[in-house]
């Protein structure tokens, strides 16, 4: 059947077999367009899936009586869906612009200082240089290690970081087990480490404020926090396996 005939039949009958024939006929458009957007941090398979869904939606909206060819009509529709997908996805994984910009500047300046002096600059020096707090410097450097929730967890076949997020309204037994595992893991920490967790995640104090309370430097808090979180992660991995 010709293009116009196919769409006319589908519009008049709503026959899914006809719709499937149209989808098959135009799958190549989805494939061609998905390929155009490869290389922007999203796998081809994901883009193809988005494109095919847009193709299916577009078939229902297309009116062959308007005299436009289907491929001309569907290209902006699929392109729009792919771009929306990028936008939604980037909202999840991108750093805030200010942090990303500062990170770039800090990285460049650090590299320059290392090249000139052979010594990495301290956050304090960088903070003075950029007119920001030490904490902002440390935060922007740590922010570079942001990961996608879709990223697979090493050694955990098929599991992603998304799987680690507790679902809302989860099973109460599972919650109890989780709480128990966390309690056990906390017991393994030193009083100093527990004190830090209390300030940072209980009272939600900044690293600088935590440092003041503990009478230490902000850098010490940053290092200790990293160490404690790594320790907890290891412990919880073992306890909940």
């Amino acid at each position: 059947m010709e293009e116009t005939e196919l769409f006319q039949t589908y519009r008049e009958t709503g026959d899914l077999a006809v719709r499937n024939a149209i989808v098959e006929k135009y799958l190549y458009v989805a494939s061609v367009l998905a390929k155009k957007f490869v290389g922007r941090g999203v796998e081809y398979d994901d883009l193809y899936q988005v494109a095919v869904l847009a193709l299916m939606k577009g078939i229902d909206r297309f009116d062959e009586r308007k005299g436009v060819r289907f491929s001309t009509f569907i290209t902006p529709t699929i392109t729009g869906e792919i771009k929306n997908y990028f936008r939604d996805r980037s909202r999840l994984v991108h750093l805030p612009r200010k942090v990303a910009e500062l990170r770039g500047r800090v990285k460049r300046e650090s590299d320059r200082i290392v090249a000139e002096t052979g010594k990495a600059p301290a956050p304090r020096e960088l903070a003075a240089l950029f007119g920001v707090t030490e904490e902002e410097i440390v935060h922007c450097m740590e922010a570079g290690s942001v990961v996608s929730l879709d990223r697979p967890i090493d050694g955990e076949e098929g599991a992603t970081f998304y799987d680690l997020i507790a679902a809302g309204g989860s099973d109460p037994i599972e919650s109890l087990e989780t709480r128990d595992a966390v309690k056990t893991a906390l017991k393994e920490l030193s009083p100093r480490e527990r004190e830090l967790l209390g300030y940072r995640f209980g009272e939600e104090l900044s690293q600088t404020a935590t440092a003041k309370r503990m009478n230490v430097s902000q850098m010490y808090v940053s290092r200790l926090e990293r160490k404690v979180l790594a320790k907890l992660k290891e412990s919880l991995k073992g306890g909940m396996a």
Partner: protein, 124 residues
């Protein structure tokens, strides 16, 4: 309009990546965001493909600052037999979908140039 860069590609073969990289650089210079920059590269590729299928051997590409980024691509080289493919229609529609002010220049019914523009803030 201030000219950012003008490139003459004598052939399309093996130079596409270089042209795309140069385009990325100009987009950055023009203050386009990452997404708009990538879209601009897609538009350049599609334009060159269209000109290649129209039978041309190469192209002259000029980038201008017109408040945003204005790109003009003009076919050069011997004009051989046009060999359009069904995907040309998708290329043209994709250009319209991604860029603003898309213009297809024709000579005797044959495509000989493409121009388009991007706003600095990514809106088109």
């Amino acid at each position: 309009m201030k000219e950012y860069l003008k490139i003459e590609a004598a052939t399309f073969g093996g130079i596409m990546t270089t042209l795309r990289l140069a385009t990325g650089g100009v987009c950055s210079l023009a203050g386009l965001g990452l997404d708009a920059g990538e879209d601009c590269k897609v538009c350049l590729t599609e334009s060159l493909l269209l000109l290649c299928h129209a039978g041309y051997a190469g192209a002259r590409i000029a980038f201008y600052d017109d408040g945003g980024l204005f790109v003009h691509i003009e076919a050069t080289g011997a004009c051989g037999e046009a060999a359009p493919v069904p995907e040309d229609e998708i290329s043209a529609a994709l250009l319209e979908a991604l860029a603003g002010s898309v213009r297809m220049e024709k000579n005797g019914g044959r495509l000989c140039g493409v121009s388009f523009r991007f706003e600095s803030d990514g809106r088109n």
